[in-house]
């Protein structure tokens, strides 16, 4: 029983990371109908930004956290402005290939930067290797602070995003733009600027994910490959649904963690994709997929 809870907690923590990256996918997909395959690599860049802020800049973790959010917001907005906007009006396929290219580019450039390079770095977070016990020490449930930090930060971030989309003018305008871009133009909402801000927001979320993930996987040029697990999370949740991304991430994380322990070796790596396949057969729209038809 303790074993099972243990696995669920660590699975949920990793699942939160998937969920955050999936959230990045979903925001951009909803707003611009583009799947941004560079999401994982954008996260990786965020990891390096945070790392540099702490080790080179000598900032404490919280300051580095804020710096990462700001830098990643600008990075996302810049990527939209310089790479994506010139492709406006091109077929979806072109845009998707461009995001894949953007991911490759990010991975390549990062290895060329002197300090960043191809090595694996450790992010010196304050709670490194700390654990605490629920119940009797040595026998009860052991929770590592890294996992707890991920879960708490994710919950806080999601609550913040919920409030933002629900109560602020800009948040509602972002929803409006993603639901009906033409109408947003007619209402005088600056659609292009809103799309740029959504890229910024999505990248900032990935930056947060990177800093939360870094204590577990370390910071390296290929850490963006968790994006490959976040993508199934978005699909399971129903691409285009924000709560779906969260639930999808948690499902993938927990299934992965359980299958890593109870199933033969190797199942851990394919568990996410098995879940997606099952989901696509049973409920092709995903758990929270929208099924809207236009009324005349």
């Amino acid at each position: 029983m303790v074993q099972l809870l243990q696995l669920i907690i660590s699975g949920a923590a990793i699942g939160c990371i998937y969920a955050l990256i999936a959230l990045g996918f979903v925001l951009i997909y909803k707003a611009t109908e583009t799947v941004n395959f560079a999401q994982g690599d954008i996260m990786m860049v965020g990891g390096f930004v945070g790392l540099s802020a702490m080790t080179l800049g000598g900032l404490p973790f919280w300051a580095a956290f804020l710096v990462t959010i700001v830098v990643m917001t600008l990075f996302g907005m810049g990527a939209e402005r310089l790479v994506l906007r010139p492709l406006l009006g091109q077929p979806a396929f072109t845009v998707i290939m461009m995001t894949i290219g953007l991911g490759y580019l990010a991975r390549g450039v990062v290895t060329m930067i002197p300090y960043w390079g191809t090595e694996t770095h450790t992010l010196p977070v304050p709670w490194k290797d700390e654990v605490f016990w629920i119940g009797e020490i040595g026998k009860g449930l052991v929770v590592s602070v890294e996992h707890l930090a991920i879960i708490i930060a994710t919950v806080a971030l999601v609550a913040l995003l919920f409030a933002f989309f629900r109560y602020t003018r800009l948040g509602i305008a972002m929803q409006a733009t993603s639901q009906n871009q033409l109408a947003a133009f007619y209402m005088g909402i600056p659609v292009r600027r809103v799309n740029m801000l959504i890229w910024g927001l999505s990248s900032a979320i990935c930056g947060v994910a990177a800093l939360l993930l870094a204590p577990i996987t370390f910071v390296h040029a290929n850490m963006g490959f968790v994006g490959l697990k976040a993508f199934p999370a978005a699909v399971v949740g129903g691409f285009g649904s924000i709560p779906g991304a969260l639930v999808g991430g948690l499902i993938i994380g927990i299934v992965e963690s359980l299958s890593g322990f109870y199933l033969p070796e190797g199942f851990k790596d394919i568990a996410a994709y098995v879940v997606v396949l099952v989901m696509l057969v049973v409920k092709p729209n995903g758990l929270f997929g929208e099924n809207l038809t236009k009324k005349v």
Partner: protein, 261 residues
């Protein structure tokens, strides 16, 4: 039609979708405070005219003047801020936002500190369409077609326009609902002095309520006059109002030709 300077003036405007020319040199003018209609069948270019005015489409030739400001090549958001807003064809509401949030988006171009005034304006449009108040917290996608049209009109009103462009407000509505909607937009025109340019296929209703009308065929204006005069024209009766004038002579029928061809 009064002789005051027009609020909106199109001079020889041409616009195209790629290689397909949709409007071929349209000129029209709208007097402030009036209700002007553009009639035409499917594909005549009615929607294209409105899209070009709103800045969604850039004209290839010609000029568009709104209150002495050139509109061509401008950003749609800038045009809304000038006080010219469109109620698009097929309502185009935001389906997952609530009715109230839809209305707030209509006021997007107004400064943030206008909050109280926007709240007051929302109450004002609820007075025109009480059903919207009843359903203000429901997602707009759950409204019926007629209610969505009411929402689209209300949302446009929240931009505080001096002029509204309406693209087929009767689309998909019952005759009774169409009449109700037209009566309210005319009330809006009379009470608030909002100038209206209404594009319609339903010539009956448009000619009944508008002051001045233009007839558009395959991208050209072929006729324009006051609506009272248009209603009396043989061609309008025949081709737009569907009055069956007996084209019977000596027991034989022939198909009437339009005089402007």
């Amino acid at each position: 039609m009064t002789e005051s300077a027009p609020i909106l003036q199109l001079n020889n405007v041409e616009a195209a979708y790629g290689a397909v020319k949709a409007i071929r040199g349209v000129s029209l003018s709208v007097a402030p405070g009036s209700v002007v209609t553009v009639l035409g069948s499917n594909g005549a270019g009615k929607t294209t005219i409105l899209k070009t005015i709103s800045g969604i489409l850039d004209p290839q030739k010609g000029s568009i003047l709104f209150r002495h400001e050139k509109l061509e090549g401008r950003d749609p958001a800038w045009i809304v801020r000038q006080g010219l807003v469109q109620v698009p064809e097929g309502r185009e509401i935001f389906p997952l936002l609530t009715v109230r949030e839809n209305l707030l988006m209509g006021a997007y171009t107004r400064p943030a500190h206008d909050k109280d005034e926007v709240a007051k304006d929302i109450e004002d449009v609820y007075a025109y369409f009480p059903i919207l108040k009843e359903r203000r917290d429901q997602p707009a996608g759950q409204l019926s077609g007629g209610q969505q049209q009411m929402l689209a009109i209300s949302r446009a009103l929240l931009a505080k326009p001096t002029m509204m462009l309406l693209d087929e407000p009767s689309l998909g509505l019952s005759p009774k609902l169409t009449k109700e909607i037209f009566e309210i937009i005319i009330r809006i025109n009379r009470e608030r002095g909002v100038t209206l340019l209404v594009v319609e296929q339903n010539a009956h209703i448009a000619l009944k309520y508008a002051d001045y009308g233009y007839v558009l065929e395959i991208g050209r204006i072929v006729m324009h006059d006051t609506c009272a005069a248009l209603r009396e024209k043989e061609d309008i009766k025949e081709f737009y109002l569907g009055a069956k004038e007996s084209g019977v002579r000596e027991g034989r029928r022939w198909k009437k030709k339009k005089t402007w061809r």
